[in-house]
């Protein structure tokens, strides 16, 4: 929700915290004064930080900004309608390169930001952004967006329950099932394990299981969803959710998972690192939560690390001003704000920011979280679903196979076969 009150207060705070701003040597923040920008953001913590702080940007630059905030699905529907009609209605938008990057890039819906990065305020520190994430946002040699965060699924777990049941986070992926079983036996009141079950959302969490199990989405030009490793991942994820997950888990996405865990009704939750603030809301989990990566499997440890990016519409008629907004929103100063809101910054240096340091120190779980995110940043890949243009559609087929196992309508091999077929067709189409 757009917190208007909060917005005013924090705007004032931010204006003070940007001492370099207007009078930074040689950089004219007021260059595009009087122009108006339309910005489309997702209703998640990252989008909210922009909405809450945009007044400071307006003050700094004299640019008027209209922020439209929608839930992810509606944001994307709106965006595609706008872009598909070559409309200049939106100047700047949030995007997930791992999901739609290839698709939108193929459609010509991104402005190449690489040349613009030279026109940056001295304190922007473009080089400080994670090279891996910048690379993940580069398609056909064009930098399509600037990363706003880094996130990936991590295992939130209840240290108190684990202690009570004499358990530790398993050392290997196969140990997950035993741990869940033990949790169920020892502490029946809480759900042992929860992760995403919603068809179109679960590729994000499932992909880590799949890769750790040793799977590769594309092997020799063919879909590897049903490889032996794939089937093992399918069985494990399906069994965990089916036997140790909450009733109705097939409708679960991050909202439900966070609230279940936050309310103390789940012992383990495998969900995005970005959900820290939601999980910690109210403070009940502040002192009994541990955060770890998913244990490595036969294939090793391949955590997913992706980023939301801020992109510019090629139809924007205010590209200069739009770039100002993008560099402001991805600047170290704003990303420090993000960090304090529980959004891990795509800049390793942020951890050294004094305010961030203070925040991390204030609760032990925050440092644990930061460590997990650092691991993600170092070892993570962005393979959520198939690395093809029709990535969103590929996620649907993965979701179908997994959900069939969770609801028990099919055995893993039977559930997987039709998905593999559809995926092979998609891969073939992509090669053309």
């Amino acid at each position: 929700m757009v917190a208007r009150l909060v917005k005013r207060v924090s705007a004032a705070a931010l204006a003070l915290s940007l001492p370099l701003g207007a009078h930074a040597a040689g950089f004219d923040w007021q260059k595009y004064k009087g122009q108006t920008l339309d910005v489309l953001v997702d209703n998640n913590p990252i989008g909210q930080v922009i909405a809450n702080n945009v007044a400071a940007f307006e003050k700094l630059t004299g640019i008027n900004v209209k922020v439209d905030i929608f839930t992810e699905q509606q944001m994307r529907q709106r965006l595609v309608t706008v872009l598909d009609s070559n409309s200049s209605q939106v100047d700047v938008f949030m995007t997930l390169p791992s999901r739609e990057g290839q698709q939108f890039s193929g459609a010509g819906w991104y402005t190449d930001l690489a040349p613009m990065t030279k026109d940056a305020s001295p304190d922007y520190d473009f080089a400080g952004l994670s090279p891996a994430l910048l690379k993940a946002a580069t398609f056909d040699g064009k930098l399509t967006s600037i990363p706003m965060n880094i996130e990936g699924p991590v295992l939130y777990y209840r240290t108190d329950i684990f202690k009570k049941c004499n358990l530790t986070v398993p050392a290997s992926l196969s140990g997950m099932l035993d741990t869940a079983k033990a949790l169920k036996k020892c502490n029946a009141a809480t759900t042992p394990f929860v992760s995403r079950g919603l068809r179109d959302a679960l590729a994000y969490t499932y992909s880590v299981f799949f890769h750790n199990m040793g799977g590769h989405y594309i092997e020799n030009g063919k879909s590897g969803l049903c490889s032996p490793a794939g089937l093992s991942a399918l069985s494990l994820y399906g069994d965990l959710q089916k036997h140790y997950g909450p009733l109705g888990v097939v409708n679960y996405s991050f909202y439900q998972i966070s609230s279940l865990y936050r309310d103390g009704r789940a012992a383990m939750a495998f969900e995005s690192s970005n959900e820290l603030s939601d999980v910690m809301q109210g403070g009940a989990r502040l002192n009994d939560t541990g955060i770890a990566l998913l244990p490595p499997g036969p294939g090793g440890s391949h955590p997913t690390a992706i980023a939301w990016g801020l992109a510019m519409s090629p139809y924007s008629t205010h590209k200069g001003a739009a770039w100002y907004l993008i560099q402001w929103a991805t600047s170290p100063a704003i990303q420090a704000k993000d960090e304090i809101a529980g959004i891990a910054a795509p800049r390793p240096a942020i951890a050294q920011d004094p305010q961030v340091k203070a925040w991390l120190a204030a609760a032990p779980v925050r440092q644990v979280w930061q460590n997990a995110v650092n691991q993600l940043a170092n070892t993570g890949t962005s393979n959520v679903g198939y690395p093809i243009t029709d990535n969103p559609e590929s996620r649907q087929y993965i979701g179908e196979a997994v959900d069939k196992v969770i609801v028990g309508s099919d055995k893993p091999d039977a559930a997987c076969a039709p998905a593999d077929q559809s995926l092979n067709a998609l891969i073939a189409k992509d090669k053309k």
Binding site: R4, N43, T81, V82, S87, Q89, Y255
Partner: protein, 270 residues
């Protein structure tokens, strides 16, 4: 069976049905008045200390009234537009007994709403109207117009032809016979058409999803933001739901007598 016993049986069944109909709405209002601890209590608590904190929080953190004002402007204006177009059309269709114009307008209801989104966006973009009240009022009128015609056509049909003829003999032109004679005779139909048009326009979200922007976003579209958050905050979600549903409910209940009479009467002919 004894008539009295029969009557009691009927009334008893009605009470049960009425409670069944009422339950979800009552549950929503009740949940909206619960504190965050009470709302997720299981088994659900019936005795709780009611609190307005969900409402105050909602109104403090979101521009709820701005969305409500948008809804009001868009539903109100599209209802007026629907009436302005629908009244003469229904009258003409009734008088000339040619139903094709009415059928044309009703046909809009047979296509899925999603079909309209992209073409409309293209058109309104070309006109520079995306995100304006005008675009929303025009598109929502595509909902109100068929409702107005659907309600008024049977109402006009129920006026004896001779009364309209008498008006002609008395010297009324077409417009005046509509304004002075026919319209006063369908006044209750007019109330129903207005209320239903307003309510269904208020309730419809799909067009505004694409065609509105932050400044013109109606409540039902804003509601989606609450749904996401709502799975973590039932009390807030139900408070938002209650407030969104309140205007159409209050309006409809204010004219329930006419509404029920109109539905029972009009539908038989339609």
């Amino acid at each position: 069976m004894n008539k009295r016993i029969l009557h009691i049986l009927v009334v008893a069944q009605l009470v049960v049905v009425a409670l069944g109909i009422l339950f979800p709405i009552v549950w929503m209002v009740m949940s909206s008045l619960k504190s965050s601890a009470d709302v997720t209590a299981y088994p659900p608590s019936f005795l709780f200390k009611p609190t307005l904190e969900n409402y105050t929080h909602l109104l403090e953190t979101t521009p709820f009234f701005a969305y409500a004002r948008n809804s009001l402007i868009e539903s109100g204006a599209s209802t007026i537009l629907g009436l302005a177009l629908g009244i003469p059309a229904a009258y003409a269709a009734s008088v000339t007994r040619s139903s094709w114009p009415a059928l044309v307008t009703l046909s809009a209801r047979m296509a899925p709403g999603t079909l309209f989104l992209v073409p409309w966006y293209v058109v309104f973009k070309a006109l520079g109207l995306v995100g304006t009240y005008a675009a929303l009022i025009l598109t929502q009128a595509a909902i109100t117009l068929p409702i107005v015609i659907w309600v008024l056509l049977p109402a006009f049909d129920a006026i004896p032809r001779s009364i309209l003829e008498a008006a002609l003999v008395d010297g009324c032109g077409v417009l005046r016979s509509l304004w002075r004679v026919a319209l006063p005779l369908v006044s209750s139909g007019l109330v129903i058409a207005t209320i239903l048009g307003f309510v269904f326009s208020w309730n419809y979200f799909l067009f505004a999803l694409v065609l509105s922007d932050e400044g013109t976003k109606p409540l039902v579209v804003a509601a989606f933001n609450y749904i996401g958050e709502g799975s973590t905050d039932w009390g807030g979600l139900m408070a938002a739901a209650t407030l969104i549903a309140l205007p159409p409910l209050v309006l409809a209940i204010a004219v329930q007598r006419w509404l029920v009479a109109g539905l029972t009467l009009g539908a038989v002919k339609g």
